[in-house]
């Protein structure tokens, strides 16, 4: 039975028997690349990663078209309140490390 990727809209043939060295991504996502944002979203949902930690990872995957299962959570992770984003721009000059920025939403 085909499965929809845990991240995007692509359907894939899942495999339970593939070697499990590392993350057995063939059970959850369509390609190895999508396992990284998938785990970030999952761990955020399970309170194992903070919003900032998850955002930092998702910001590296700006070209993914997220499916409806995760869209709401992704938006929640990437949402930056207006006040905070203005504040961070002001603070930016003083801070050695800049805060992760929200990706442009499609």
């Amino acid at each position: 039975m085909l499965k929809r990727c845990g991240v995007c809209n692509k359907e894939f043939e899942p495999c339970n028997q593939c070697p499990s060295g590392g993350y057995a991504w063939r059970k959850t996502v369509c390609c190895v690349e999508h396992s990284v944002p998938f785990l970030a979203i999952l761990e955020y949902k399970r309170n194992l990663k903070s919003k900032d930690e998850a955002m930092e990872i998702l910001n590296k995957y700006t070209d993914i078209e997220y499916n409806d299962d995760v869209k709401k959570i992704v938006d929640e992770i990437l949402f930056v309140p207006v006040a905070e984003s203005v504040e961070s721009e002001i603070d930016e000059a003083d801070e050695p490390v800049s805060k992760p920025r929200s990706r442009k939403k499609s």
């Binding site: 499965k3 845990g6 899942p14 339970n16 499990s20 993350y23 057995a24 991504w25 059970k27 959850t28 998938f38 785990l39 979203i41 999952l42 761990e43 949902k45 399970r46 409806d68 299962d69 995760v70 709401k72 959570i73």
Partner: protein, 266 residues
């Protein structure tokens, strides 16, 4: 008085078969149900005028044994499969059948009994919900609950609102890792084969005068086959085995086996 001849003795009881590998004890089969030791030899007649037999050429002498033990033997399985028993890193299949209560239905959640192991995000890949009409709906694990999807976290399965109702039956299959040394596993690896070991059959014998004695039938090199059945029928599961005796080339003798009858005295 000592026992000086095999004549007149009969085996009355097969007690056990002990298996060893270079002195290391591998197994004891002491619930023997069937035992057979078959000895074979081929001979070809050498014929003269009119087909009269002048002599015979003998060759291909052999011995093999078969039997069934009433209990399973892990050591015997190791010899038959070339595998090894372990009590570590064992994963088993768990099946939970949960009848949805009113509380579960209103919370859209059911709890499973054990902690699943496996790929994050696919610990429980599917769950099956039998509704009031007996129709079974399959749900797939996702990060979040939704149409046809459930979320899993911390022994809890979450469905979308109104997906489950009181009285529904939720069936969940998942893998659970056992605590080390609480279970045992033997693996039949396709790339490994059956091995040989030393066998000693023990039991009792009786002679025509009613005198009892012990016997031992020892096979220095019993080469087990990988053919065995774990059978279940009217009675319990039994464990069958078969072996072929190999010539003991390391020894000065070429024995397939030794049969000894002796009194049980010090």
């Amino acid at each position: 008085m000592g026992i000086v001849s095999i004549d007149g003795w009969t085996v009355t009881q097969w007690d056990a078969i002990e298996g060893f590998k270079n002195g290391l004890h591998l197994f004891t089969l002491d619930e023997l149900q069937e035992v057979a030791i078959n000895n074979t030899e081929e001979s070809q007649d050498v014929t003269g005028a009119g087909g009269s037999i002048l002599n015979s050429n003998k060759r291909n002498k052999g011995c093999n044994g078969t039997g069934t033990n009433g209990l399973l033997s892990g050591g015997l399985m190791e010899v038959q499969t070339g595998g090894k028993q372990t009590t570590k890193d064992i994963v088993i299949l768990q099946k939970d059948t949960i009848t949805v209560t009113a509380d579960m239905a209103s919370a859209n959640k059911v709890s499973i009994t054990k902690t699943p192991t496996g790929t994050a995000g696919a610990e429980i890949q599917y769950v099956y919900v039998k509704g009031a009409t007996e129709v079974v709906t399959t749900y797939q694990q996702a990060v979040d609950a939704g149409e046809g999807k459930f979320a899993y976290d911390n022994k809890e399965i979450t469905f979308a609102a109104s997906a489950i109702a009181e009285g529904n039956v939720v069936t969940v299959y998942y893998n659970v890792k056992l605590t080390d040394d609480t279970g045992v596993k033997i693996t039949n690896d396709a790339s490994k084969y059956s091995t040989e070991c030393e066998l000693v059959y023990t039991g009792l014998a009786k002679n025509a005068c009613g005198k009892e004695a012990c016997f031992q039938f020892s096979v220095p090199r019993a080469d087990f086959t990988g053919n065995f059945n774990l059978e279940m029928g009217d009675s319990q599961t039994t464990h069958s085995f078969e072996w072929t005796a190999l010539k003991n080339k390391c020894s000065t003798s070429n024995n397939f086996w030794d049969f000894i009858i002796f009194p049980d005295e010090d």
